[in-house]
């Protein structure tokens, strides 16, 4: 592993303190990361009030589960965002078709977007690797995978948004994921 940036290391250290019950560390972590995680929640939740509840649940979970964070596996901000995403995904209502927050055509890939402040060098390498591998996919595969991640859309939502049969959407994404996995593991 390459050395994480000081900011990323600081987040990982805060999580270690939180695992030991250090409440000021939780307050500091919240001040550093809550805007990012709220952004994640707002993309997936339909109501702002729901996103606020998910954000609350996220930090309560972080307080209780910080000890399960393994810095060897992911950057702290990635882990935190995954906790928030999972909480938000759990809230989606079964059977309700959701829409993209923006048309797929407008959501052009920002390949060279500036890394966030908490990014690690390793993150930068992973990001570059992911972007490279996504570039190898067909447009339909790539756009659908991105929309699923960013907006928390299901196969049904995506099929509806793109006006294609469900089987077609599943085929796009599954083939895309297999190709992506092969590329990421190279």
């Amino acid at each position: 592993m390459t050395a994480p940036s000081p900011a990323a290391r600081a987040l990982a250290e805060l999580l270690q303190k939180i695992a030991r019950g250090d409440q000021p560390a939780l307050a500091e972590l919240y001040s550093l990361t809550s805007a990012k995680l709220f952004g994640v929640c707002l993309r997936i939740c339909e109501e702002r009030s729901e996103a606020e509840e998910v954000l609350q649940e996220t930090y309560v979970t972080v307080w209780r589960r910080a000890g399960t964070y393994d810095p060897a596996k992911a950057a702290a901000i990635t882990w935190l965002a995954a906790v928030a995403r999972n909480k938000a995904l759990d809230r989606r209502r079964t059977g309700k078709v959701r829409q993209l927050s923006a048309p797929l055509e407008d959501a052009a890939m920002v390949v060279d977007s500036a890394p966030s402040a908490q990014s690690t060098l390793e993150d930068a390498q992973q990001r570059a690797g992911l972007m490279h591998c996504l570039d190898e996919l067909d447009g339909n595969q790539r756009d659908s995978i991105r929309a699923a991640f960013l907006d928390g859309l299901t196969y049904e939502d995506l099929a509806h948004s793109r006006d294609v049969p469900l089987g077609t959407m599943k085929s796009w994404i599954r083939r895309g994921l297999q190709k992506l996995k092969g590329c990421l593991e190279r």
Binding site: P24, E52, Q56, T78, S116
Partner: protein, 238 residues
């Protein structure tokens, strides 16, 4: 799963990635979640996708959440400054602070004084820290609260007790380095308020201990504890 679930032979569905992306929901999602908890290989695959796809989140714009979210988090965890709670919530807060429970020797009036010190903190101040100082026979002898914002220290004896004649009690903070630094002397058997310098405040953390020793009038002549230690305990955040 219906017949439309079958795609045109792309192989086994990449279930871990589907779970991470949130492509399936309801009962299917719950099933995969249970599998991630029980099946190490599957959990490792979920971890792979979470870390690799995480970079997609870079383009999500940060949005500042409203202030009440943090207040609610503190309420749920029982760490909110008491002043932010309605009166009827205070008993709940009191009970949620596990270590306060052992403080049976503290009289209700002294306990109220302790809560009072927390009550008037500004919301922006760092959370207060407290220590229960046990006497050499294992009983709760003193409660200390440290407001790291103002540097104010409140000391409350659980039972009235005075230093021997021509002696005083001296309060010490012992850092992670093992060095004891004096916070001041006191003779009173009631609650005592002291101020400690900001420089020392910065060192107050959960690796610090607080102790009380018996010293000659005027305090320790050496700058380190010289007399018997009558009570000590670790500093904890609340």
């Amino acid at each position: 799963m219906g017949p439309e679930d079958h795609d045109d032979g792309a192989g086994a569905p990449p279930l871990a990635a589907e779970f991470v992306l949130g492509l399936v929901h309801g009962e299917e999602r719950e099933t995969l979640k249970r599998r991630a908890a029980d099946d190490h290989a599957f959990a490792a695959e979920v971890g792979f996708w979470e870390s690799r796809l995480g970079a997609l989140g870079d383009e999500i714009q940060p949005q500042t959440p409203p202030a009440h979210v943090w207040t609610r988090i503190q309420q749920e965890l029982g760490t909110v400054p008491v002043g932010a709670l309605r009166t009827r919530d205070r008993a709940g807060l009191w009970n949620s602070l596990a270590f306060w429970r052992g403080l049976s020797l503290v009289t209700s009036s002294l306990a109220a004084a302790g809560i009072g010190a927390v009550l008037f903190l500004q919301p922006a101040a760092p959370p207060p820290m407290v220590a229960v100082l046990n006497t050499t026979d294992g009983r709760s002898g003193f409660m200390v609260s440290v407001d790291r914002g103002s540097g104010r220290v409140m000391l409350m004896p659980a039972v009235p007790g005075e230093a021997p004649p021509e002696h005083v009690h001296e309060l010490w903070m012992i850092g992670a380095d093992g060095r004891a630094r004096s916070l001041g002397t006191f003779a009173s058997s009631g609650p005592v308020a002291m101020s400690i310098p900001q420089g020392m405040m910065r060192d107050a953390d959960e690796s610090s201990a607080i102790a009380i020793s018996v010293e000659p009038s005027g305090g320790s002549p050496t700058g380190a504890p010289t007399g018997p230690v009558v009570a000590q305990g670790n500093l904890r955040s609340i």
